[in-house]
């Protein structure tokens, strides 16, 4: 291997890989506010964006400012990203609701730490899984991905941007302190493929921003391109103006739900292995690393096989797919670094005669393989 190629291989943290992914995706705007354990992402972006003409990095006054700045940027047809942690993610919820309602795609990275409130900044946690899903009010869809390695921090960011652009939805990347601060030797790609929405074709008088055919994979106009656009957080008609007609309210919410429902065929991402086994571990994020280690250790000790499913995309929860994959399982173990958040989703997915066991750790340390083996 030549020296040139070696230069691209380096020991990088998840946060560094995330910042590199953001740079390669080349968003127009990154608006963020520093917070442990996500600060390194914006630090790197701030540094790198100085070399890139036309790119804006802005440190806002807080996370409410960050999300509103992103909403403004995406309304103007720009790509926007931010990185934060639990407390900042809480502040962003109102703005995330606006992004969902006004259909403004953006990327929000949440490097999870302990909570509630300021909690434990330097410790790890997976406690924001439900906040990602239900943090903002109203009946709304959301997409969230969850990387388990430095390389996946890069790959899933590219995936997230593409989903966000295609569905016109905010997408949340749930990292955690461990994957954010851990260094692995990786070679990251120099080119990424990013999906760009097509521009609408004239005539302008027939353009409706929220037309049914503009729900996903849309030809969408932005402010300043000559089309008539109206954005609001209120329930709106297809021209974007507010209404309270029951029929339109229902149409509005159905439209949002269909972003996920119509795309379920490709809107899932998981790894699985040895699913014929009686016992299966369902995990995500860094808990998945402990789960894989537990599987290897247990099999070496006992000679019995254990199945494993690792979700890379936690929302939308892959109900049908998981139902099929867990068909022959009698016991399902769900290890998480919280008090059992995704455990209930798994429990209501499998049939009643399957026992579902929640393995929890929420003291800020990483789940150990032994804790999972104890439940096997």
């Amino acid at each position: 291997m030549g020296n040139v190629q070696r230069k691209r291989i380096a020991a990088q943290t998840g946060n560094e890989a995330m910042a590199y992914a953001m740079k390669q995706i080349n968003p127009d705007v990154v608006a963020a506010y520093p917070i442990t354990p996500a600060t390194e992402i914006m630090e790197r972006i701030a540094h790198r964006f100085r070399e890139l003409p036309g790119r804006v990095f802005i440190q806002m006054e807080d996370e409410i400012g960050s999300i509103c700045c992103m909403n403004g940027a995406t309304a103007a047809g720009l790509k926007a990203m931010t990185a934060t942690s639990g407390p900042g993610f809480s502040l962003m919820q109102e703005g995330i609701g606006y992004s969902v309602m006004a259909e403004l795609p953006c990327i929000i990275v949440n490097v999870m730490r302990g909570g509630p409130a300021t909690g434990t900044p330097t410790r790890t946690s997976q406690a924001d899984v439900m906040q990602a899903r239900y943090g903002t009010h109203g009946d709304h869809p959301i997409v969230a991905v969850c990387p388990w390695s430095v390389r996946e921090c890069f790959d899933l960011t590219v995936t997230a941007v593409n989903i966000s652009e295609r569905l016109r939805l905010p997408v949340i990347i749930l990292m955690d302190e461990i994957v954010g601060h851990m260094r692995e030797v990786v070679e990251l790609p120099e080119k990424v493929n990013v999906w760009h929405p097509d521009k609408p074709k004239p005539p302008r008088e027939n353009y409706y921003h929220y037309d049914d055919q503009n729900n996903y994979d849309a030809c969408i106009a932005s402010f300043g391109e000559g089309y008539r656009i109206h954005l609001t957080g209120l329930t709106h008609r297809k021209d974007g103006f507010p209404t309270d007609e029951p029929e339109i309210i229902k149409w509005n919410l159905d439209r949002l739900r269909r972003k996920i429902e119509d795309n379920r065929s490709w809107l899932w991402d998981m790894d699985y292995l040895d699913l014929g086994s009686e016992t299966v571990i369902v995990s995500y994020g860094t808990a998945g690393r402990s789960a894989m280690a537990a599987k290897a250790q247990f099999e070496a000790q006992t000679g019995r096989r254990v199945g494993i499913v690792r979700l890379r995309m936690v929302w939308p929860f892959p109900v049908q797919r998981l139902m099929a994959l867990l068909r022959s399982a009698r016991r399902v173990i769900v290890p998480e670094m919280n008090q059992g958040q995704l455990y209930r989703e798994v429990e209501r997915t499998v049939s009643l005669n399957v026992s579902v066991v929640s393995v929890q750790r929420y003291d800020g340390e990483m789940l150990t393989p032994e804790e999972i083996i104890d439940a096997l």
């Binding site: 291989i9 020991a11 601060h181 851990m182 260094r183 692995e184 030797v185 402990s290 393989p369």
Partner: protein
């Protein structure tokens, strides 16, 4: 399967984190091992103590934290007091002759890391790179040449020569415990 867990611990400012990154890159980029490097980010990272862990293996490393150390490098007495319990019974402790007074462990190697940096290179600043050289030699997993390439990526160019000298000095201090 071959796997070793290494911890470098000392006081903030001794450069233990840079040392661990150089070690990880030498092993991972130039020698083709699987590596994971972590460091303490807790409040203790501000209280003066500093610690970084490196796991080197021939298999993918799933659990990224060190649990039972094969090798513990202590650049301060506090590091010995805090982390000696994490060392395997047959693990090896490497201590700095200047800053560590005692280390109650059977397999202890006492090396003049700080003194070498001061005496040979004129500045204590290079202790961390001297340490990397010694540690790599002790593990027997990394070649001196790989270390030199790894250090070139992580230090400013004008200090490259002196850092490579530090590596060599450390390399010659290190002994393979067998």
């Amino acid at each position: 399967m071959q796997k070793i867990e290494i911890r470098i611990a000392g006081t903030g400012g001794q450069g233990v984190i840079l040392a661990s990154v150089v070690l990880a890159e030498a092993a991972g980029v130039y020698e083709g091992w699987q590596v994971v490097q972590t460091q303490s980010y807790g409040p203790e990272a501000r209280g003066g103590a500093s610690r970084a862990d490196v796991i080197i293996s021939d298999q993918p490393i799933l659990f990224p934290k060190c649990r039972k150390l094969d090798l513990l490098i202590c650049l301060s007495q506090k590091a010995v007091d805090t982390y000696l319990n994490d060392l395997k019974v047959r693990g090896v402790a490497v201590i700095d002759s200047f800053y560590v007074r005692e280390c109650p462990h059977a397999q202890t190697i006492c090396l003049p890391l700080t003194e070498t940096a001061r005496r040979e290179l004129g500045r204590e600043l290079f202790t961390n790179i001297v340490t990397v050289g010694a540690v790599a030699k002790i593990t027997g997993l990394i070649k001196l040449d790989s270390l030199k390439q790894a250090v070139a990526r992580r230090v400013p160019e004008q200090f490259l020569k002196i850092n490579q000298q530090a590596l060599e000095l450390g390399w010659h201090l290190g002994v393979n415990p067998g």
